[in-house]
């Protein structure tokens, strides 16, 4: 049996294992693995190491971990993996803003299996880590060219973390200038929530610009918000709507005129690789998510890397240690007196940087540009047909070409059928694709959904996805019963409650669950 050639729909059912919790599989005495034991001589020479400890510090009751043989542990987690739809197994156009591109296996295998990656201690003598440092150094040169900025750090463990580090740099920059009045930052509502959340964590008051009737962050509102208190603007372009703001330079210039820095959130830079850069738009700082734009996988949310870029005059503030090259050997430089110091331990997530390095090397300048072109082409192709699906509305930017993603709306569907974006989202899995991303909060666009068919997806993938959306729209209009209690073909059924907030209903661990249920 194969996918229906006419409808492009599949008769799909995700694995449903009714898998118990690992605790329920426990059989007293079973062992999953044996660990090295000290030889007799070591044991007798060392003596009763634990027995000699003060009483309070000795473990009194063994942790209530499950006791399960190895095959059953492996099988359990294999089953759980089958009940998960990663980008490897579904057409992951759904998670717009996240750039769910293919993570090439050659990169995955090398990063996970090569002992010159897996068995390197980050504090080894630099003479024994020349390969590691070379990869860092070379990847930094690539990102400098791709952004036009002058220096990069790979220490941040994710995109929001890089935005936090950028906020630290903004803080250090103004403090060094003796300017202690600047305690506000400006962002836009369609920029990622971390552009508000991370600077707030660094102590900034956040001003958020709302969109005008065309979907652009209101420029006049920004100009009137700028003052001697503005430390920086943190902004995305194209925003989560996929709309590129052509007047971005005016925002940047206005901010600079007011003495503020300009920070470009390029977590998702897929639309502009080799097309447009932070430098030409005038930005002082930026960051790229290597686990989005540069092909490293998302790992159920990490580990990732937020690669942070800075213009020359801000280079002195970057996290230490810096990877440098003296023409012969690579070395680590800790002697950067103005540096913000560290934001994460050691050198960051090296395996993620390695994957980005390999990906960029395979793509080259032409390939990066092709990735941007195809991702935008794909998105515009899908928009053309999604626009025609009954129930869909596209807010803002009528007649304008959006870039790599679009935030759509089921506003009309909701009016017509009572079913909104959450209902459609629930049904998607019945056709073998992951939940789509609706929107960050608050929902400015009603009943939102955000799709990003990046360069990894074929025309056939997109056509199948379009068929699924068309089919679900049709079902909403014609077969409401089918929608009401979907999903039907997922590992589990519809949740009774989708948000848990009260003490009585909170069970994020097995022991909380047992306690709440008096077991």
């Amino acid at each position: 049996m194969a996918r229906d050639k006419n409808t492009l729909l599949r008769d799909f059912h995700e694995a449903r294992w009714d898998e118990p919790f690992i605790f329920e599989m426990s059989v007293p005495g079973e062992r999953g693995v044996l660990v090295p034991r000290p030889c007799e001589e070591v044991a007798s020479q060392a003596g009763d190491v634990i027995g000699e400890l003060p009483e309070f510090i000795k473990r009194k009751t063994q942790p209530q971990l499950p006791e399960v043989g190895q095959m059953r542990v492996n099988r359990h987690y294999m089953r759980l993996s089958q009940e998960t739809l990663g980008a490897d197994v579904n057409i992951d156009i759904s998670q717009g803003t996240c750039t769910m591109k293919y993570s090439p296996k050659v990169q995955e295998h090398l990063a996970a299996r090569n002992p010159n990656v897996t068995e390197i201690h980050p504090l080894q003598d630099p003479s024994t880590m020349q390969g590691i440092l070379e990869v860092y150094y070379r990847t930094e040169q690539f990102l400098k060219e791709i952004s036009g900025l002058d220096s990069f750090s790979f220490q941040s463990g994710g995109g929001a973390h890089a935005v936090l580090a950028n906020a630290y740099i903004v803080r250090a920059y103004h403090a060094d200038r003796g300017d202690d009045k600047r305690d506000e930052i400006i962002t836009t509502i369609f920029s990622h929530p971390c552009d508000a959340g991370s600077p707030a964590t660094a102590g900034y008051k956040v001003i958020t610009l709302m969109p005008d009737e065309n979907g652009y962050a209101n420029l006049d509102a920004m100009k009137s918000s700028l003052s001697e208190r503005t430390a920086a603007i943190f902004i995305t372009n194209p925003e989560d709507t996929g709309i590129y703001n052509p007047r971005i330079k005016e925002y940047v210039d206005a901010a600079h005129e007011a003495g503020a820095l300009c920070v470009y959130d390029q977590a998702n830079a897929n639309a502009v690789l080799g097309i447009a850069r932070a430098k030409e738009a005038g930005f002082d700082l930026c960051h790229f998510n290597l686990h989005k734009t540069f092909s490293a996988p998302h790992g159920c949310m990490g580990p990732g890397v937020g690669a942070l870029g800075a213009k020359g005059f801000l280079q002195q503030y970057l996290p230490v240690p810096r990877v440098e090259f003296d023409g012969e050997k690579y070395y680590l430089d800790d002697n950067c007196p103005n540096s913000i110091g560290r934001v994460r331990s050691f050198l960051g997530n090296f395996p993620v940087v390695l994957k980005a390095y390999m990906w960029i090397m395979q793509m080259g300048a032409d390939g990066l540009r092709e990735a941007a072109i195809i991702s935008v082409l794909n998105s515009q192709y899908m928009t053309k047909y999604i626009r025609q699906i009954p129930g869909v509305v596209i807010h803002y930017a009528e007649g304008k070409r959006r870039l790599e993603q679009v935030r759509y709306s089921w506003e009309k569907l909701k009016e017509d059928t009572g079913f909104g974006t959450e209902d459609v989202q629930r049904r998607l899995v019945d056709y073998g694709v992951q939940h789509y991303w609706m929107s960050h909060h608050p929902w400015i666009i009603p009943e939102p959904f955000t799709l990003e068919p990046c360069e990894a997806y074929s025309k056939d993938d997109m056509d199948e996805y379009l068929s699924i959306l068309r089919q679900i729209s049709k079902e909403c209009y014609e077969q409401p019963d089918l929608i009401r209690n979907c999903p039907h073909n997922a590992p589990i059924h519809r949740l009774v409650k989708t948000e848990l907030n009260d003490y009585e209903e909170i069970a994020v661990t097995w022991r909380q669950y047992l306690k709440r249920n008096n077991k």
Binding site: A46, E67, E83, G86, I248, G299, L500
Partner: protein, 468 residues
């Protein structure tokens, strides 16, 4: 077949015919028409200046392996560096599961379609809760230092106080991460960090100094157990009493692989336990295999102050079936932007799943045995090293897997000794002389279950030789 047009294996629509068809569909004849919203002066003129691409898979693999061959790894040489990143045994099943494409390439989607991911994360939280003897954890953050920093801010939100006390023996790199995190634009909004002295003989926290510094302005006292310098904080129970009597939170930063044999901090008074889980089934990966956890008791006062995402167990419409739902999402900046507790984001969830696998496969017996092996191996190594003339073990207090070796009575500096050890294909312990000058020429040595007697003996012989 000759064709100059490159078709990229990772870009299916780079096939010229398909690309042309798509361009027709969207009504463009030139690539750049797609980008007509980007003003010309912001468009990149010309091509990025990057090295020639290595397009075929065999060659990119070879190219990268050749660069990496310039490394010397901890299987080539014998490694005794730990310093928060010790090498431990990684069961093959851990690698098998985190290599599964379903997990490796999934992201943040909620519930149904990713049910297995949510169950695996729930089990991570659950097994960590058992190990830590606490009740509540979210998904992890970047590393232990970031977990410690967030724990301190939690304490501040809980009691409104603005000073935190940290041990002077803590990892100086972690300290800079914490300093950054507790800093604020306006000084009056920052948390003040005060370090507590330690006893140079035992390594333990100086309780007089603690008593002098603790007062009703102190939000939290954080101790490390085992400490960065390896020794066990055997006054932890007493410290906890002093801290709680002052109305402050008692935060214990721990190494989870020690907790099969050592008591969970919750049982000697910790109100928040945090740390890095890198010892539980993860490779060194040059510091890539790290992740930070924060655990609390089943008390809203604490639970609602955590910053990262977490999903809880809940019912579906089918009786007896369970699923997972977002829990207290209003804590986070995903829901409330700048009004969230602290920032959050993509952390280290694939490693959390791996830690779950590790704890499941180890079980209580495995965790006891690994702790016992580590302590015996490390004690044996320290005993043997102490027999070398001119070399001393610095602190008198018991330790877990790391200990400070002092070379003051040798004619060589720690740096010289490490350089000579390198010639003998050994990575000597981390040089402490820069960060802890009061310890003289000292190094932090780490011995784990991965070291055999023969390897320890080889180190001892090498130290004997190079310290002469």
């Amino acid at each position: 077949m000759q064709d100059n047009k490159v078709v990229y294996p990772y870009i299916p629509n780079s096939v010229p015919e398909i690309k042309a068809e798509l361009m027709r569909e969207v009504g463009v004849t030139d690539d750049m028409e797609l980008f007509e919203e980007i003003p010309e002066d912001l468009q990149l003129k010309g091509k990025l200046n990057l090295p020639p691409a290595i397009r075929d898979e065999y060659s990119i693999k070879k190219h990268t392996e050749d660069i990496l061959k310039k490394n010397i790894n901890c299987s080539d040489f014998l490694n005794f560096i730990g310093a928060g990143c010790a090498r431990h045994f990684v069961p093959a099943v851990c690698d098998e599961i985190n290599g599964r494409g379903e997990f490796a390439t999934a992201y943040g989607a909620e519930t149904w379609a990713d049910h297995g991911k949510h169950q695996a994360l729930f089990e991570y939280q659950s097994m960590m809760a058992e190990l830590l003897d606490m009740d509540f954890l979210t998904v992890p953050t970047y590393d232990g230092a970031n977990a410690a920093a967030s724990s301190l801010l939690m304490a501040h939100r809980i009691n409104g106080r603005k000073k935190v006390l940290l041990p002077r023996t803590m990892d100086p790199d972690n300290l800079t991460i914490i300093r950054n995190y507790l800093q604020s634009v306006h000084q009056e909004n920052a948390l003040e960090i005060v370090l507590i002295d330690y006893d140079l003989v035992s390594g333990l926290m100086n309780l007089d100094d603690l008593k002098q510094k603790i007062n009703s302005n102190v939000a939290a006292v954080l101790i490390e157990n085992p400490s960065y310098l390896g020794f066990l904080e055997t006054k932890a129970e007493e410290i906890g009493r002093i801290v709680r009597e002052a109305g402050a939170e008692f935060i214990v930063y721990t190494d989870p692989i020690s907790l099969g044999v050592l008591e969970a901090p919750a049982n000697y008074g910790a109100t928040i336990t945090c740390g890095d889980f890198r010892s539980l089934g993860l490779h060194l990966a040059c510091g890539g295999g790290v992740g930070g956890f924060i655990a609390t008791f089943d008390d809203m006062k604490y639970m609602q102050e955590t910053k990262d995402l977490v999903d809880g167990l809940t019912e579906t419409i089918v009786e007896g079936e369970y699923g997972f739902a977002t829990t207290m999402i209003e804590r986070t900046h995903y829901a409330l932007r700048e009004k969230g507790k602290e920032f959050t984001g993509t952390g280290t969830n694939l490693w959390a799943i791996t830690v779950g696998v590790y704890l499941a496969i180890m079980g209580p017996k495995g965790m006891w045995e690994v702790g016992d092996t580590i302590m015996k191996n490390a004690r044996y190594a320290a005993q043997k090293i102490a027999e070398i003339p001119g070399i001393e073990i610095k602190f008198s207090n018991p330790f877990f897997k790391e200990f400070v070796v002092n070379f003051d009575k040798c004619s060589k500096s720690t740096a010289d000794i490490n350089r000579d050890l390198l010639q003998l294909e050994i990575f000597g312990g981390k040089d402490l002389s820069g960060d802890f000058p009061e310890l003289g020429q000292s190094a932090l040595y780490c011995v784990t279950e991965t070291h055999s007697k023969e390897e320890i003996d080889r180190l001892v012989e090498a130290l004997r030789e190079v310290s002469r």
